[in-house]
Amino acid sequence: MVSLTDVDRDHLREVAYEIRRLTVEMVTWGQWGHLGGSFSMAEILAVLYFQAMRVDPERPGWDGRDRLILSKAHASPGLYAAMAVRGYFPIDAIYSYTALGGMLEGHTDMTRTPGLEASGGPLGMGLSVAVGRALGLRYRGDPRARVYCILGDGECNEGNVWEAAMAASHYHLDNLIAIVDYNKVMAKGPVWRLMSIEPFEDKWRAFGWDVIEADGHDLDELVGAFHRARWVLPRGKPIVVIAHTVKGRGVEMAEFNPAWHTHAPDPATADMMLRELARSAGRDEVGYSRLHMAVSEESFYGGE
């Protein structure tokens, strides 16, 4: 088992904080976006980009890199934040989120954003693309690179997910690691009420996958899970990390709250959120924010 040093843990915690903070900036500045599903995967993204994945932001197209496909592409602010912090593009670029002609689309567009590995939006599609990439890596004879794919829990209502899951085990894609951000809440309510996915672990096992469950906000557990997925489990099967998370994690009013699935905060609420995030991270200041530079209060309303 790997264990994190205190220094590494602090760093990852810092990254997760930045991911949430920049998500608030982005969704507020752009007046559109998905905050809850970005918050729930902040630790997952921090561990992937700074610990688990072999990537080089200086060479986003490097052949040997690990690939990450965000199938729940509406949670793009979280991903963009992680990529900005990792150095794929300047932090300032987040303020082009959803801007006409900007480099950060509302839903992912791989042709605009350096380092982005797929385009998406409609749910259920990303795992198929990941299967294709995993097969492609096998054709290329690359035994090292991994394909990571982040799915939402509600997304697993989509039939396409299970077509892909079936194919991944049929083709023994042990270079494919799926992660389910199991945050328990979909757009309009709890997953268990709208369309239950349980027994979830059994489903993946029945489809021929190895399953690792983890607390998706516990950095040590995530690091251990991804280490096991890559280095410990026997080869021959695709692996899914079911990460138990809290939708909206980090800001109390958004936690487990479908109202913050798609919603842009007004500046006052955004400020409250930023302060709460800073407080939890043990900071006195909220950090660099452009939100006070917004043209008018008016522009902050709407954004469903």
């Binding site: 042709t111 409609p122 693309v129 299967v131 492609g136 054709y139 396409n160 892909a164 194919a167």
Partner: protein
């Protein structure tokens, strides 16, 4: 110029043989199938290159997602299924995973249009042209004979970005004695004439040539223009032919709603002349022998010839009656319904 040779071939064989040929030349070509390989004939590629043939089972959405992923890794995938399943079942995957990022995926839509044996509406792909031509980045082609289909596939591989091409389940004679080199946005004048233009795509161009024979017996000299490249379309040739002949008929093995005929009309723009569109007229297709279906939907060569006479009348102020206003009218339907009993060979043999 338009003398046709006797060579007749199943377009599916032309498709599969071209894939095998490509497979020998390029290591990056991968064929994907969703449990239809003996129907689409991609089984030939499977036998020649088992390692570069991916079976995804009955899962068309997955078929195209995997295709996207392979293209991202630098391969040139040919996901193949029936045209209906590409256009209906997997449209979202094709749109967002493939067309939106402009990936190098070459989509083969088999069993295009009416010739599907007797499968009925669920398997008769009549809307695929309209659907795929409306996707940004997507190119659309419908070849007229086996040699041209082979050319389409070779050009598709050399073209950056997504391509959708149709493969009919039909034996068709060669359109012309020589091979038609396929080029995006370029049509071919198969037969020159000045009285009316018959614009055809896919297997319907062969029927346009037969319609021309019928018309020539009455001293009418149609121009036959074959447009395998539906998107982009040869706007210049469409406009000049329409203006020179003053009226036109379009013919497609698909629905007239939003399809090839619509693309021709769009290309004519403000210079539109009287046009009739031959194709399925906003109806679901019944089961039935292919010959009967062509008769039922008014898509035989005799129907094209009859439509040609009507648009000439409209141009000349006859029949439709009101001179200049008729000249601007664009008729959708093709007049009287033909009977299934007077079917004349559509130019191909259903197989």
């Amino acid at each position: 110029m338009a003398s046709r040779s006797a060579a007749v071939g199943d377009l599916r064989d032309a498709f599969a043989d071209a894939l095998v040929e490509l497979g020998h030349e390029r290591q990056d070509v991968i064929v994907l199938d969703a449990d239809l390989n003996t129907s689409s004939k991609t089984v030939k590629f499977m036998e020649a290159f088992p390692d570069r043939f991916i079976q995804v089972g009955i899962a068309e959405q997955n078929l195209f997602g995997i295709g996207a992923g392979l293209a991202m890794e630098g391969y040139v995938p040919f996901p193949s299924t029936f045209a209906v399943f590409a256009a209906r079942r997997a449209l979202d995957q094709i749109a967002i995973s493939i067309a939106y990022p402009g990936l190098d995926v070459k989509i083969a839509g088999s069993y295009a249009g009416l010739p599907t044996s007797r499968a009925g509406a669920s398997h008769n792909s009549v809307e695929d042209i309209a659907i795929f031509r409306s996707l940004p980045n997507m190119r659309v082609a419908d070849a007229g004979d086996g040699a041209e289909l082979r050319s389409v596939i070779r050009v598709a591989v050399q073209t950056a970005g997504p391509v959708y091409f149709r493969v009919a389940r039909l034996e068709v004679p060669d359109l012309v004695a020589h091979e038609l080199p396929f080029e995006w946005g370029r049509g071919h004048v198969l037969l020159d004439g000045s009285d009316v233009t018959l614009f055809g795509t896919g297997i319907m161009s062969g029927l346009c040539l037969r319609a021309a024979e019928i018309l020539r017996r009455d001293g009418i000299h149609p121009r036959v223009v074959h447009l395998a490249s539906i998107k982009p379309i040869d706007e210049e040739l469409v406009r000049s032919s329409a203006l020179q002949t003053g009226c036109a008929v379009t013919a497609e093995n698909a629905s007239v709603v939003g399809g090839f005929g619509a693309a021709v009309l769009e290309a004519m723009g403000v210079n539109a002349v009287p046009v009739e569109r031959i194709g399925v007229r906003d109806r679901w297709v019944d089961s039935g022998p292919t010959e009967s279906l062509f008769a039922e939907h008014g898509m035989r060569s005799s129907d094209i010839a009859a439509a040609a006479r009507r648009v000439m009348d409209a141009r000349d102020g006859r029949a439709l009656g009101t001179g200049s206003s008729a000249r601007r009218s664009v008729a959708l339907t093709g007049g009287e319904q033909p009977s299934a009993t007077d079917f004349d060979d559509p130019g191909g043999r259903p197989v």
